[in-house]
């Protein structure tokens, strides 16, 4: 490296170092974040307890095979969500203190995993509809008379379910588009970092 280049570097450094903005108020944000962390965990814990209590209460009130299966399903889902939350909270810091390359590679793997999960979501919704239809058909002797007695109520229920399924599909499609955009961005970054 020549002297001229070094002088050039020193000049750049001098200009660069003169760009010091005062640091914004950070402690308040950290305090807010800490409070939010505690509140969100307390709310999540309350939700977990409420969901499990509701499942237990429902089984206690009418201990049919169907109710027990539903309660087990709900409990498993609640514990899976709680586990995912803990994993997410433990995992987020690790990624950022890694080197840039490791961080971007991990980011790429995470986006890919999210996309796989979303694809599974697209299959799960129709599977859930088929499952509910089969259950309803199998229990038609119980449900049928009620449907005939209160057709308007059942129409409302079916309408709400259809709307919910449509909303879930739209949300999944929107989220998938976002993740695909993110994937192309991460791939570009990876290429740039490898080049």
């Amino acid at each position: 490296m020549t002297m001229i280049e070094d002088r050039e570097l020193e000049a750049w450094r001098e200009r660069w170092r003169s760009v010091a903005e005062p640091l914004p108020e950070i402690h308040r944000k950290i305090k807010r974040q800490n409070n939010w962390f505690v509140i969100s965990n307390v709310v999540a814990l309350c939700g977990l307890v409420a969901a499990l209590s509701f499942a237990a209460w429902a089984v206690h009130k009418q201990p049919s095979g169907m109710r027990i299966a539903w309660a087990i399903g709900l409990s498993v889902m609640v514990f899976v969500c709680a586990g995912y939350r803990i994993w997410l909270q433990r995992g987020t810091w690790r990624a950022e203190s890694q080197s840039t390359r490791a961080f971007v590679e991990l980011w790429h793997r995470r986006v890919m995993a999210k996309l796989r999960m979303l694809r599974m979501g697209f299959y799960l919704i129709p599977a859930w509809i088929v499952f509910c239809s089969v259950v309803a058909a199998a229990n038609w002797s119980v449900i049928g008379p009620d449907v005939h007695a209160h057709p308007r109520d059942w129409l409302v229920v079916v309408g709400v379910v259809v709307l919910m399924v449509a909303a879930a599909f739209l949300k999944l499609a929107w989220y998938r588009r976002r993740k695909l955009r993110e994937l192309s961005e991460v791939k570009r970054l990876l290429e740039e970092l490898s080049g």
Partner: protein
């Protein structure tokens, strides 16, 4: 009796643990404050390379500080504090840049309050200096991410070994990339009026 004694021991143990936790927290807060004092200006300069808009830049600096605060309890000294800070800052900057892709604004929004006080006595000198600085930052912002990172680390005076640790590449690779990045910066500065 034994139950009461065991329960009181438990309470003392809990109280001891609580004191330890709060002491640890105070220690962390002290460490965090000293990091901000020492590396705060570098973090705020680094934010310039990722975000030209003043308001969003302030948000980015806060995000970086928050990420450092969250990572600090897990820092085991596998690398220097400076490397640790720059890793987090660059990674947060990358995430920020990929989420928000505003139109390139080459520091036109730099308000008077953002401008550091320049000790140069003559207004012409001051103007020329500010112009040069604006040209440099604008050129850095226009570079691809990999070049930008190299340039920022070089301007912050990190050694090759530290740069390699921040970026996750070999020292030889650092040397090659640094040459390319310097050339790209020179070209970008030459291209700017």
């Amino acid at each position: 009796m034994s139950h009461a004694s065991s329960s009181s021991t438990h309470t003392f143990a809990d109280a001891g643990q609580a004191t330890l936790v709060s002491e640890n927290r105070r220690e962390l807060e002290k460490q965090f404050d000293s990091i901000l004092r020492e590396h705060g200006p570098a973090i705020s300069r680094l934010a310039y390379s990722y975000e030209p808009v003043a308001g969003a830049r302030e948000e980015l600096v806060q995000d970086i500080a928050l990420a450092i605060w969250q990572a600090l309890p897990h820092f085991r000294g596998e690398c220097s504090v400076r490397t640790f800070i720059f890793r987090i800052a660059h990674n947060r900057g990358l995430t920020h840049a990929s989420r928000r892709r505003p139109a390139h604004q080459p520091l036109d929004d730099l308000t008077e309050s953002d401008q550091p006080i320049d000790p140069r006595p003559h207004p012409e000198e001051q103007a020329a200096y500010t112009d040069e600085r604006t040209r440099l930052i604008s050129a850095i912002q226009s570079l691809p991410v990999s070049h930008r990172q190299m340039i920022v680390l070089m301007l912050e005076d990190l050694s090759y070994a530290e740069m390699a640790e921040v970026l996750g590449i070999t020292e030889n690779n650092v040397a090659v990339r640094l040459n390319r990045a310097r050339k790209a910066l020179k070209d970008a500065m030459g291209a700017r009026p």
